[in-house]
């Protein structure tokens, strides 16, 4: 069967030639992705299967020891240190994501229901810190959480800490820093769906005797579900790889996968690469789950 002709810029083109043109237009982007994303990833994967020299350099021989060791199965027996770090990272990332979703949803609702001028201002207020380097922002949190900073007396007054003591390094400081670092990732996609909400569904639910919970469950959540999924992915995945925040606010005891990888890259490249491979696998698994979730909910 011949392919139907399609008019394209005055020419008659077949779908095949259209596809060829599209490929031509996409070529620069594809080249960029190949050189700067796919190639480095292949390199990481290759290095993860290499051996380590005496000075931490890469030895090009095949071994799966790094990948096994990353999961805790070292030559000298099983260690659960890495798995504990992974569990902590997962818990922190999931918790941060949950907090960011709730905060982001509430914030989006507040912003979307303001006057247009105020809306733009509030959105800018959310996004501007995002344009500041993460390291600088996290140092900012050190100042805020310092013993002589503004937050310490409040925490002391509430009985959460000793007067005069800094609030970092501590796990709480890491949580605060993580949420602050990632909240804009949640607000952006959530605001996009909240702004286009069909409020008549909310009114219909209230008219049909629904209390707050039912309104949320049946009138709001189904409408914002795509935004929630996007926000969860955009928050959870950077959270998995985060190391700056825990480094600056958590102290040496609060190690995440990101910190572990970062450390290895100074002394053991193949082991660091192996840790990185597992992190990428976990990330892909999270993406697959996120893509399947809404489909199943709809079925």
């Amino acid at each position: 069967m011949t392919e139907p002709a399609i008019a394209f810029r005055g020419d008659l083109a077949t779908p095949r030639s259209l596809r060829a043109r599209a490929l031509g237009l996409a070529a620069p982007a594809l080249a960029w992705i190949t050189v700067f994303l796919i190639a480095p990833l292949c390199l990481v994967l290759a290095v993860a299967f290499c051996g380590r020299g005496d000075y931490g350099q890469i030895e090009w021989r095949f071994t799966s020891a790094n990948l096994a060791r990353a999961l805790g199965c070292a030559a000298d027996g099983f260690s659960d240190v890495n798995l504990r770090i992974a569990a902590r990272t997962l818990w922190l990332s999931a918790g941060t994501t949950a907090i960011c979703l709730v905060l982001g949803f509430a914030l989006s609702l507040v912003i979307a229901t303001r006057r247009p001028a105020l809306r733009a201002l509030l959105l800018a207020a959310v996004m501007i810190p995002f344009g500041t380097n993460l390291v600088i922002r996290t140092y900012g949190w050190q100042l805020l959480l310092a013993g002589r900073g503004p937050l310490a007396p409040i925490a002391a007054a509430l009985g959460l800490s000793e007067p005069g003591l800094a609030l970092y390094p501590s796990p709480i400081a890491v949580w605060v820093g993580m949420v602050a670092a990632l909240a804009p990732f949640a607000v952006a996609p959530l605001y996009a769906v909240v702004e286009r909400l069909d409020w008549s569904l909310v009114e219909a639910a209230r008219d049909l005797n629904a209390g707050r919970w039912r309104v949320l469950r049946h009138a709001l959540l189904p409408q914002v579900a795509p935004g929630l999924t996007a926000a969860a992915v955009l928050t959870f995945i950077p959270a998995l790889g985060m190391f700056v925040v825990s480094d600056l606010l958590g102290g040496a005891k609060h190690m995440l996968i990101g910190n572990l990888v970062q450390q290895q890259l100074a002394r053991d490249w193949p082991y660091g690469a192996a840790l990185g491979v597992w992190l990428i696998v976990a990330t892909l698994a999270a993406l697959v789950l996120a893509r399947r979730g809404p489909d199943r909910a709809r079925a």
Binding site: D198, A204, L208, A210, G211
Partner: protein, 347 residues
């Protein structure tokens, strides 16, 4: 049917401003139990806001809403014995037709067996049983409208509010659904309050029409009275076509106009009233009629299918005639404006 004076819906002294704009200015109306009342007016007249205040979706700045004597003024929507059919239908897209209809009952935690029975009854009442498993995006406009009506009626509200429920449907379907809505309301005996800008729809379905103009009630009455006896120029022009003629009072039953002297049946109280007459009330004669005769020239003759329309001078009179082709532009005719159909307006 003689009901207690407070039975049904009573709205009194409602005011509402949006910013500096007075949307509703001291509006009150009542709908007796089992009455079909229509709020009719152009867009921006405040009719939808008034309906939303009754539903509890909008808060009035002043005024009271009672149903069967119970004051609902401060109550939230879910504590009012009132349900709404929304203009956009607002069906929950993730729920089936049956679950949409069951929504209100489940929200009130009715027993599941009871829910199933009443949902089945409501679906049968609107003849949409076979759609029960469908999702809203698999329904046509008319089907959505039936589901929206079933979803509201299944809660057995004391008052059903309908916010322009036909505006998204094509003319043919609209006509059918108007009749069906009318019959449904008769059968159930529920008070219906409909908001529309379609005067034909209002006259088809209503026991009583309340015409609204810029946040106030312009006139209220049974459809025939509002149509035949419009009180103001606005009502005369909004409900169907009307010829409005500026006049000068001669005595209690006579006026002078550009058409010549006219006798009117009702009393003339103002010095310079406006006189209204419907196009179909003007009679065309070949010979001079006995009273209220106007010698006119046909300026334009239009064929409208089931009838014809003439534009005549003087006065740019619009005349509805039976479909015929013997009157063409330029023809000289005698028009009779019967005194009993000349309405003396208040403004």
């Amino acid at each position: 049917m003689q009901a207690k004076p407070d039975a049904g819906l009573v709205v009194t002294g409602v005011r509402k401003r949006f910013g500096h704009v007075a949307v509703l200015d001291h509006v009150g109306f009542a709908a007796a139990r089992g009455e079909f009342v229509t709020l009719l007016g152009p867009s921006g007249c405040g009719k939808t806001t008034l309906l939303r205040i009754v539903a509890g979706l909008e808060r009035a700045d002043a005024g009271r809403v009672t149903v069967d004597g119970r004051d609902l003024t401060g109550e939230p929507p879910h504590r009012r014995p009132v349900n709404t059919v929304f203009q956009s239908y607002a069906l929950f897209p993730h729920l089936s037709v049956a679950d949409n209809v069951a929504f209100g009952l489940r929200a009130r935690r009715a027993a599941e067996g009871d829910v199933r029975r009443r949902v089945a009854d409501a679906l049968a009442l609107l003849r949409i049983d076979e759609l029960r498993a469908r999702r809203p995006d698999e329904l046509s406009g008319g089907q959505k409208q039936r589901v929206a009506v079933a979803r509201a009626l299944v809660n057995e509200p004391a008052v059903l509010l309908l916010d322009e429920p036909m505006s998204a449907l094509d003319a043919q379907l609209r006509g059918d659904l108007q009749l069906e809505l009318r019959r449904l309301q008769r059968r159930l005996g529920t008070t219906f309050v409909l908001v529309t800008h379609d005067q034909e729809e209002a006259m088809t379905v209503s026991d009583r029409i309340i015409v609204m103009d810029r946040g106030r009630i312009a006139q209220s009455g049974v459809p025939r009275a509002v149509y035949e006896r419009p009180a103001t120029r606005f009502v005369a022009a909004f409900l169907g076509a009307a010829n409005l003629v500026a006049a000068r009072r001669v005595d209690d039953h006579a006026v002078e106009t550009v058409l010549g002297p006219l006798r009117v049946a009702s009393a003339v109280t103002r010095d310079a009233p406006t006189i209204a007459i419907r196009p179909e009330r003007i009679v065309v004669h070949a010979e001079r009629p006995a009273a209220n005769a106007v010698r006119a020239t046909v300026r334009e003759a239009l064929f409208k299918g089931d009838h014809g329309q003439l534009f005549c001078d003087p006065g740019d009179l619009r005349v509805r005639i039976a479909a015929r082709d013997d009157l063409a532009a330029g023809a000289q005719v005698w028009l009779e404006l019967p005194a009993e159909h000349l309405q003396v307006l208040d403004d």
